[in-house]
Symmetry: C2
Subunit: 453 residues, 2 copies
């Protein structure tokens, strides 16, 4: 097989028209009013995949359905499971959209529509990538699609679904395209995600709210105590102080630090983009290293006492905070949760009772950058962009990836087609037409390259 350029065979015009059809279906999973539309999007995809010779089903769950399709043409070749989601974020605030969210419109080379990049555009690029290969003959690998309708509401049905269909979903590698490349013209392969430990700290002082005049100076104040606890969780070098927190962490390799250091990142631009005059974080690491490769602790919410207008002189009976820790390979979420549960009572000031509730966790993961799958993706991207991919990690946590690892025991390959400027989840979400077309080619080439391994 040669490295044939398939772009002339891709029929982008039809690919665009079909994507627009899909984007017109308002498959908002969070809003019960759109329930029938969510199913309509699933059925639309099932029909499309059937037309490509796939065995395709719409499987019911307790929530929105899952589309499953397979075409197993290549007995001796690897099996590739393509994951995506056809549900979209709510469109609110509607008044900020320049053109209606469910009426795809092209302006300045971009398709504006809810779901254009997240994830209908990227998921459908794989459908069209498969179609492109089929237009040239048989598929070079066995292909399975799993397209869910609940990703934007936390995928509540996917774990039971994966468990029930584990045998059917068996694959050599899972491909996900549901994110952003590092920058325009920079093909990106993401090979690691951070994990998560998320707890809620409750601090109880007196058995009732107290008058700060009658008690202030002697009664324990749970808000002050909570602030003290939180302040003690990090030192002045930005390191988390929980004993054992850093134990077992795989240090960043010289290769990673070199690789990330060479990426087109500017701290000044980063600061400007979020409107701050300085960054914070762990001493001794660059911004990308802090976000992609190091663990951290952030308070995500805090409350206690009087939050209304004006002044009220109350010593609250209780206060609370939500605290999450992003974890890196070598850290186990359950162990970290246990560590903070042990530590907080030790640093709490006298007179208050504390409780640390476990919300949920997620495993940090890192895949080898020299795996045959990643090498195949790198070759595929090189054929599209004329340059090799950069190897990034992401600071986020993607629970579905851990579920794939746990239940299907299968590695994930992230081949993102979007850009941060696509503004997923925001009004005026868009997807560059060029990125969509490159995504179709990327998908086709990736399946070809995976067929060569």
């Amino acid at each position: 097989m040669t490295n044939q350029d398939l772009s002339s065979a891709a029929n982008f015009e039809q690919a665009d028209a079909e994507l627009f059809e899909l984007l017109r279906i308002p498959s908002v999973s969070a809003d019960p009013a759109y329930k029938a539309d969510v199913r309509r999007a699933a059925e639309w995809l099932q029909k499309k995949l059937s037309s490509l010779g796939f065995t395709a089903r719409v499987d019911d769950t307790n929530g929105h359905p899952v589309v499953y399709a397979e075409r197993l043409d290549a007995p001796d070749k690897p099996t590739v499971l393509l994951y995506g989601h056809y549900d979209v974020q709510p469109e609110a605030p509607l008044e900020e959209w320049v053109t209606p969210p469910f009426e795809p419109t092209v302006r300045n080379g971009r398709i504006y529509a809810r779901g254009s990049t997240d994830d209908k555009g990227q998921a459908f690029a794989h459908v069209r990538g498969v179609e492109l290969l089929l237009s040239q003959g048989k598929l070079p690998v066995n292909v399975k699609f799993i397209l869910e309708g609940e990703e934007e509401i936390g995928s509540p049905s996917i774990i039971p679904y994966l468990k029930a269909h584990a045998e059917e979903l068996k694959a050599d590698v899972i491909v996900i395209s549901d994110g952003s490349r590092f920058a325009k013209d920079v093909p990106t392969i993401t090979y690691g995600i951070r994990g998560l430990s998320y707890v809620e700290i409750h601090v109880q002082g007196a058995n009732r709210d107290l008058h700060s005049g009658s008690y202030g100076g002697a009664a324990p104040n749970p808000i002050n105590a909570l602030c003290e606890i939180i302040a003690k969780l990090k030192d002045d070098k930005g390191r988390v102080t929980i004993p054992g927190f850093y134990d077992g962490i795989e240090p960043l390799t010289d290769e990673e630090r070199r690789m990330w250091g060479s990426l087109p990142h500017s701290d000044q631009e980063f600061m400007d983009s979020i409107g701050v005059s300085a960054l914070s974080g762990e001493e001794g690491y660059t911004t990308l290293e802090r976000i992609w490769g190091r663990p951290t602790l952030d308070v995500n919410g805090i409350w206690g006492g009087y939050q209304g207008e004006g002044s009220k002189t109350v010593i609250a009976a209780k206060a609370g905070a939500k605290v999450s820790m992003r974890l890196v390979p070598g850290q186990d979420p359950e162990r970290i949760t246990k560590l903070i549960q042990d530590y907080v009572p030790k640093i709490a000031p006298a007179g208050v009772k504390v409780e640390v509730l476990d919300h949920h966790g997620g495993q940090p993961m890192k895949f080898k950058t020299d795996s045959p799958y990643i090498k195949a993706a790198d070759r595929a991207l090189n054929r599209v962009y004329g340059r090799g991919a950069v190897f990034a990690r992401t600071g986020g946590s993607i629970p579905i990836v851990a579920a794939f690892a746990d239940i299907l025991k299968t590695e994930v390959l992230f081949v993102d087609m979007g850009l941060n400027e696509d503004a997923p989840h925001s009004p005026n979400e868009s997807f560059a037409v060029e990125d969509y077309h490159n995504g179709i080619l990327t998908s086709a080439y990736l399946l070809e390259e995976l067929g060569r391994e």
Copy 2:
């Protein structure tokens, strides 16, 4: 004049019946639905005072009216201004009342009704005290009453009223009975109140909420920053760290420390009463010293980020807290507010913007315990209780006292008749019948004793 026991002349039966009449008027100042009732209570008092030979008026304000009455029988004697309030707290939660809040009911020697102790019972004890003296002849001093209807909503009309009537309200001493004695059988004279500086701290991080996966570890977190700031405002000895905070404070005298040390106070009982296992506060001071005689800093409210159910991985754009400092004589609220406004930006971590808004302040005050007025009160209480008064301060701040000092240039004498267990502001507020009757005698004897100075 001898120390005649007037209890047999007091006609307590009639005094009870009249108080019950007043308590049946639901004069809730906070609720517009009760507006007419508030006025009805004012008119009831005006009528009662007129019947005692007072020149009595109901004066309109922008809010609820003020009752003013005077009877100036004693040209060469001091003039005593008796302050009280006839409005009451809302009755909610109604379902927790054993008997209806506006149907006074005696159980176990206590009058249960909204306003029984706060402040109708205590204010009306003075009316009956005056009546008792009049039953014996002329009044031994000149008496003025100012009874307001907005104390429970922060006395918004009282300052303009005092300013407009400053000449008419001139007095040698102002008597307030609107609080609690230190303990049962312990007559108490309060000779000092703490002041207040109340600020709101706002911390701004990024220009929008950020995803803690994509930014966590590098972007400033305003909640963590706020906690750090708050934790730094006090050291591990419970002292406020704001430079200059303690400058100029009058130290507690040996006499005060001895006097308070001899009061029947138990830390264990204090802790039990609020359900905590340890107290906090400034090292080197007892609980009463901490509350009555030392300044402190308490966070009264805090907020930021996600406060709902479950978990959300957000780095909030902003966070805030309400912080109040109780002040003692020697500290000026405006100066202290300025100090914290200067200090917070200095201790804020890099990358966040902070703002410290000034809410309001109140002057700390302390009156001499050897003033002739306090001596007269001590003698009066001795006649009622058979023992001298204890000299307490209060940890609270009473803005009306500063207004009296500022506008009328007159010292205040606190002669509290209630007890903490009366539960003012709570359901099932009550006032011991014995305390009400002793209050009537206290008022009569106090006016007699003030007439002897």
